[in-house]
């Protein structure tokens, strides 16, 4: 329990997306799993390199869209057929072709809302506080620097050994990250 200092983990700095990508692959091969990589723009293959392969977001959006579609149509059906039926020259109450535009719009609306809210929820945002922000140099992660974090809760984490390992990957600095 007291083997490791009470820190969040170690943060290594890199100067290019290629360096980070190589380092992420190496770290994963080394057996670390509780890790994360930070970059100022999306880097292709980086999520896969740290073991994040799939996201459920498309499913969330599909379900959102289907709910939007059903509720848009049912709203119009309910209002025109059940709640306020209006006989206009004997025309059918369930005039479904006239309901298509609004059904389409609600489908898009619900799907778009689920895409955004789903992305934020799956990412756990908003997260105002995160330990990586304690490292001063991490402010550059939104400009031109790249970071790799190995968390202390990883079973393979050993402060000295992990530090040595990260230092072998980068020459730009490894930082202790306080909780």
């Amino acid at each position: 329990m007291f083997r490791n200092p009470p820190i969040y983990g170690l943060l290594a700095e890199f100067h290019s997306p290629e360096e980070l990508l190589v380092a992420a692959h190496r770290t994963y091969q080394e057996g670390y799993r509780d890790m994360d990589a930070y970059s100022p723009c999306p880097v292709e293959g980086l999520a896969e390199a740290i073991g994040h392969h799939r996201t459920r977001l498309p499913l969330v959006v599909l379900i959102g869209g289907l709910i939007g579609c059903a509720s848009g149509f049912l709203l119009q059906y309910w209002a025109s057929v059940l709640y306020y039926p209006l006989n206009v020259g004997g025309r059918p109450l369930n005039s479904w072709p006239a309901f298509v535009p609004i059904t389409f719009e609600t489908t898009i609306l619900f799907a778009a809302l689920s895409a955004v809210l789903g992305m934020l929820a799956l990412n756990g945002l908003p997260t105002p506080y995160h330990p990586v922000f304690n490292v001063d140099r991490f402010a550059l992660a939104s400009r031109n620097r790249f970071f790799l974090a190995i968390e202390a809760r990883d079973p393979k984490f050993d402060h000295a050994r992990t530090r040595q390992f990260l230092e072998s990957l980068t020459s730009h600095g490894v930082f202790d990250t306080e909780r």
Binding site: Y84, I102, S142
Partner: protein
């Protein structure tokens, strides 16, 4: 014999396209350059003057709308039969302008057009503000705008529901969905850039403000993965949406039986018109802004050239629409349809019709010439012609069709009053004032996408795709 010198700008020869990003930029340089506009301690004098003028003009809108609410719609030139006049003209004009933003950000994203990157954020903001101006017009045209919530289906004490079979109701859903989705698309694109602003801002108040808006974004690879997925899905959803919005707007006319409106060509013709108007407005705004803020490296001649080409193509589609309208009026053999076209060309509003043909059909043909496309001022002038032309198009569609319909006994001329013009120019003021605020407080170019572009252009070398 000297070695041929390496030419970083092969575009001068005219053989290779100019780059989408001038060479020599790095992650740091694009970030700092865009951020400098937002975090500059001193507000440029030009900004203050421009904002002050736009703000004054938006006060004209406030005055006109206040007077309208106190007095009633009699202050406008609307009459029977021209019950829909400036309101719907301005509504369609503004919403059409908005469409370019979604087109650039969503459709060009799906088509992997790199040149969208430096103009998409700005065009999306333009969409939002244009939709806000557009939505104002149907609301103030309601007569009793304070009960606008009756447009929405909700259980109320009157036990009434809106008429879901009416295109006007479809409009409510289409425009409100469009406004919401545009806002979402714009906002999630801003999150990583807000994080950059949070990390750079010196002023504690702005640091906290940007921090709250960035929601703790830290650029984690897992986050980027879901972020990119969400962005792509939103683009996929926004693409049919943008087509549907102007289609529904055109149904407002096409579903009616009025000659000149009741035409199946209306939906595609309106969508082409929206692209035309929108790109013209993007050009109108981009050209001065890139000059003023020295963004020629990011918004290069390549962007202006591409936008000019889209403008030309959309203009040809619109011209085809005019041609078909005229042809079908003759081919239908319907005397009322024939009369509408004859009345447009030779009737009391003929000058407006011919001005429209000049602005939308003749002047844009100048864009066939590469010299015009490379001449920034000439391009801007062509875009201004299109802005005016697209407004005239809606004027012609609405006023000439309404003012003389089937029965000569119900014919009536329409004349706009000063309040109609005050409201129109007032919304232009509101639109510009919002844009000025956007440019000052948020990054007008998407920083994280520019970083990605730096990487891609480095790999491809100068003159790459």
């Amino acid at each position: 014999m000297p070695e041929p010198d390496y030419n970083p700008h092969p575009s001068e020869s005219g053989l290779v396209k100019p780059p989408v990003l001038e060479p020599g930029h790095t992650f740091a340089s694009v970030s700092d350059k865009i951020i400098a506009i937002v975090l500059a301690r001193r507000t440029p004098r030009g900004w203050i003057v421009g904002f002050a003028l736009a703000f004054l003009l938006s006060m004209v809108l406030l005055y006109a709308v206040t007077y309208l609410f106190l007095t009633g719609m009699g202050i406008w030139g609307n009459n029977i039969p021209v019950a829909w006049a400036f309101d719907i003209i301005n509504f369609v004009w503004w919403i059409g302008i908005g469409h370019a933003g979604t087109l650039i950000s969503a459709i060009l994203l799906l088509m992997r057009q790199q040149w969208r990157t430096s103009i998409n954020r700005f065009a999306e903001a333009m969409t939002l503000f244009a939709v806000a101006c557009a939505a104002l017009f149907p609301l103030i045209h309601l007569g009793r705008p304070w009960v606008f919530h009756w447009l929405f289906p909700y259980p109320n004490v009157m036990a009434l529901m809106p008429q879901f079979r009416s295109p006007l109701m479809w409009d409510v859903f289409a425009v409100s969905t469009y406004a919401t989705v545009s806002l979402l698309f714009w906002f999630i694109g801003l999150i990583p850039d807000l994080a950059t602003l949070r990390d750079r801002a010196k002023n504690l108040f702005f640091k906290k403000l940007y921090g709250i808006l960035a929601m703790g974004w830290r650029g984690s690879a897992r986050h980027w993965h879901r972020f990119e997925m969400a962005y792509l899905l939103l683009a996929g959803l926004a693409t049919p949406l943008v087509v549907s919005v102007h289609t529904v707007v055109s149904f407002d006319f096409a579903v009616g039986v009025l000659p000149g409106w009741h035409a199946t060509i209306f939906p595609p013709y309106f969508v082409a018109g929206a692209i035309f108007a929108g790109f013209a407005m993007v050009l109108t705004l981009t050209i001065p802004i890139r000059k003023f803020y020295g963004l020629e490296d990011f918004i290069t001649m390549r962007h202006l050239d591409n936008m000019a080409k889209v403008l030309l193509a959309a203009g040809l589609l619109v011209a085809y629409g005019y041609m078909m309208e005229t042809f079908l009026a003759w081919y239908s053999g319907n005397p009322f349809e024939e009369y509408v076209i004859a009345n447009r060309m030779r009737g009391p509003y003929a000058p407006a019709y011919w001005a429209l043909i000049l602005c939308n059909v003749l002047v844009p043909q100048a864009l066939w010439s590469q010299r015009i496309r490379k001449h920034v001022l000439a391009l801007w002038i062509v875009a201004m012609f299109v802005n005016v032309g697209m407004w005239l198009e809606r004027f012609i569609i609405i006023v000439t069709s309404l003012h003389r319909d089937f029965l000569p006994s119900s014919w009536e001329m329409y004349y706009a009053t000063i309040w109609d013009f005050a409201t129109l120019f007032g919304t232009i003021g509101l639109f510009l004032a919002l844009l000025f605020l956007f440019i000052r407080f948020l990054p007008l170019i998407s920083i994280f996408e520019m970083r990605a572009l730096v990487r891609e252009t480095q790999e491809q070398g100068p003159g790459g795709k």
